[in-house]
Symmetry: C2
Subunit: 150 residues, 2 copies
DNA sequence: TGATATTATTTCAATATCAAACGATTACAG
DNA sequence: CTGTAATCGTTTGATATTGAAATAATATCA
């Protein structure tokens, strides 16, 4: 799906690369969503549980930083997870501005139940590329992701 | 930001590549959003206007297909664009199920005003990679994006 | 100490997003 | 020709998402 933009060769290359990158990522995420690897959890909720599971309890602003989401959003996602009894809020003791969010036993069980299947789905999707291609793609993404906005 | 998952080497490679891909794309999109290259338009609204501008009028389900969005979502985005007088709905004549969506003059002017700046921002962001790297990234994304869910 | 700045979270309004259910319309099989 | 199936758009309900404004707690510094 090339762009219909008529610019210099350099401009067309950048635009086409951008489109391929975003579409590949979006369609990959859509295929993963269709597999329903984390039933009963939204993608955001799964992201929070996974982060807490692998990195341990942390405050909401730190979660927002890791998941690239706004503070208001994290408040709502944690609200819904809390309603379902999957996470626990605890006001900081030394610095009472912070709220430490941690997994409940139910939350830990939930993420442990679904994570292996999620990983398996990712592995299957990524298997469209050879290992060498995966390493290459990772390196390019790393370089692009670190780019500074001028 | 490597994963903390302890699997086989192959599993870790796939997972890390996946994480790098999604994070690079998300942070790139976040940097573009910060540049505010399409003021007064949400990303979805901009996507619709751009699609109509480059591909001409089309019905809502086709828009949904191109933008990878659900039908209900397209209805709302078109609603908001119509409120602002940027697009126009027209019921199909032969097949009355379809609704053809087209740009109004105001919509055309709007997209023509902001599109060059948007392209420029993308070019600047993509310049973190050499032309060769961009071609390589594009090819890998193309291969990954086409992958079939097994 | 006290005014001010910073940080963390919440609230709110607007928009986005999906899935499921629904009504209108068309296609098609019998 | 007729009824069933498929398609399109809309609606609804739940959650997501952002940005801005409001709150609360802490830190800083004069």
């Amino acid at each position: 799906m090339p762009t219909h933009y008529s610019g210099t060769r350099e401009e067309v290359l950048a635009l086409n690369t951008f489109i391929k990158l975003t579409r590949a990522t979006e369609s990959l995420l859509a295929r993963l969503a269709q597999r329903n690897t984390h039933p009963g959890l939204t993608t955001s909720q799964f992201g929070v549980l996974e982060t807490l599971y692998h990195l341990g309890p942390m405050c909401q602003s730190e979660l927002g930083g890791k998941l690239l989401k706004s503070g208001g959003n994290i408040t709502m996602v944690i609200d819904n997870l809390e309603k379902h009894g999957l996470v626990h809020r605890e006001r900081g003791i030394e610095d009472r501005r912070f709220i430490s969010v941690s997994l409940t036993d139910a939350g830990r069980k939930q993420i442990e139940d679904v994570f292996p299947g999620h990983v398996q789905a990712i592995i299957e999707e990524m298997s469209a590329l050879t290992h060498e291609e995966q390493r290459s793609l990772g390196a390019l993404c790393r370089k692009l992701g670190k780019a500074e906005s001028s």
